[in-house]
Amino acid sequence: MKREIPIIIVGVTGVIMFFQYFIPTGWSEFIFTYAQDWVMVIGILSLPLGIWSLVKANVLKLKDPKERFYSAVLLAGFLAMVLTGLKRESFEAGSVFMKLFNTILIPIQATVFSLLAFFIASAAYRAFRARSVLATVLLVTAFLVMLRFIPLGPISTANLGIVAWILSVPNMAAKRAIMMGIGLGAAATAIKIILGIERTYMGRD
């Protein structure tokens, strides 16, 4: 029963929600609304699992002399936000809670992702070479798209037209084909889940 009942639940709810799409009545919308609303509540209550895992892992790391300082920093940051965010009004601009958000989280998160600029420059230099015809096609296309930024008078005007064509014809066609494959795959996976063929979501016994 530990595996059979969940499979039955998945099958029944999946079939109901699938057919609900084709039945435009009041009770059909009622089922849809309540089903989704309940799923949202389940989801909201399951999100703290990740938070608890992170906090627990770092509390345990306090015993390790090498990791103690950094785990303490993480837990201190966590506690600072929890203590300053106890009131709902903390989310308004000007509170200590939002000052911590603006002073620490925004600059660090923005800067971590800005490192990618350096990595892409390094990748462009060290790996982006015309080793084959296919690589050359990729390289030339990327080159033309990047050239948009450099004001070169009439060359730029012509390049803008070429890039607009590239984006709206071959690029669009390639991404469309990829997306159609993704869509078929997603639908097939959903059908397999409802039919009970795909059961990885249940984990192991």
Binding site: A93, Q109, Y125
Partner: protein, 279 residues
């Protein structure tokens, strides 16, 4: 080892330094870069411009600080246009740090245009699980958001009294860095068929032109260049256009890197072939 071979194996930290210095140049020597507007950006501007005072516009600020460099300028430009035209703006965020982004945007821009929360704009708040939230909003905004982000019941706000769901707004504009755009297109437009436009990062931009061509979205603001184009149209100075000078220098440097590395690659390959043929 020849000079060209050394060039091909250069320590990556010299490349980092070159890019770092390149983006500092416009700090010292600033210059304007002409911005030409692309059709996909102009469509969004023209649409918003065609709306009348009192019309409702729905804006989703679905990004975190990691993408604010590209998305904040375009969100600001659109919000500036919406507030200037006296549109009623409903804002939501499906990104976990989005409330901080919205708080900053609305605090600055609403006060600049003398717009009052609850009367001229409302911030519904944040919910996880974008697909579910979008589908529930399509039924009624009050199902996922019985109260707004500041705990005010939606029905108590003058501007929300006659608004039920997406059929009561003129369009949805989603600013996002992740796959939330896919959720809006799939679960939003796919289920409820409302006009949708997206503002997305450069990384994602090339992946959404098929939706534009199929009519599932009516416009795209692609990356910081798109933001600069929108600022050009709106006429409010912003961070998008400010970034263009830096983009010119950085792109020039990266193009130079690609050219140098390929020249070195082909030259060393030719040398190796000649050495191999001589034996």
């Amino acid at each position: 080892m020849s000079f060209l071979e050394k060039m091909m194996l250069i320590d990556r930290r010299w490349i980092y330094l070159s890019i770092g210095l390149a983006v500092i140049i416009p700090v010292v020597v600033s210059f304007e870069v002409p911005v030409s507007v692309s059709p996909e950006v102009r469509k969004i501007y023209d649409f918003v411009e065609s709306l009348n005072a009192g019309d409702y516009l729905f804006i989703a600020v679905d990004y975190d600080p990691s993408s604010m460099a590209e998305l904040n300028p375009m969100a600001e430009a659109v919000l500036n246009q919406a507030f200037a035209k006296n549109l009623k703006v409903i804002i939501v965020t499906l990104a976990q740090f989005g409330p901080g982004m919205v708080e900053d945007l609305t605090t600055r821009l609403a006060s600049a245009h003398n717009r009052v929360r609850g009367e001229d704009y409302v911030f519904l708040g944040y919910r996880p699980y974008p697909a579910i939230t979008i589908m529930l909003m399509g039924i009624n905004f009050r199902v996922p958001f019985p109260v707004d982000h500041y705990s005010v019941p939606l029905d108590s706000m003058p501007m929300m009294r006659d608004v039920r769901n997406f059929s009561d707004v003129k369009a949805v504009i989603d600013f996002t860095a992740g796959n939330t755009a896919d959720f809006w297109i799939t679960y939003g437009v796919g289920r409820f068929d409302f006009p949708l436009a997206i503002g997305i990062t450069g990384v994602m931009a090339a992946d959404y032109y098929q939706y534009l061509q199929s009519g599932q979205i009516f416009g795209i603001i692609p990356g910081v260049k798109g933001a600069a184009e929108y600022e050009e149209l709106v006429g409010f100075p912003g961070k998008g256009k400010e970034q263009m000078a830096y983009q010119v220098i950085a792109h020039s440097v990266i193009i130079a890197f690609i050219l140098i590395s390929n020249i070195a690659y082909f030259a060393t390959r030719k040398q190796k072939q000649q050495l191999g043929g001589g034996r």
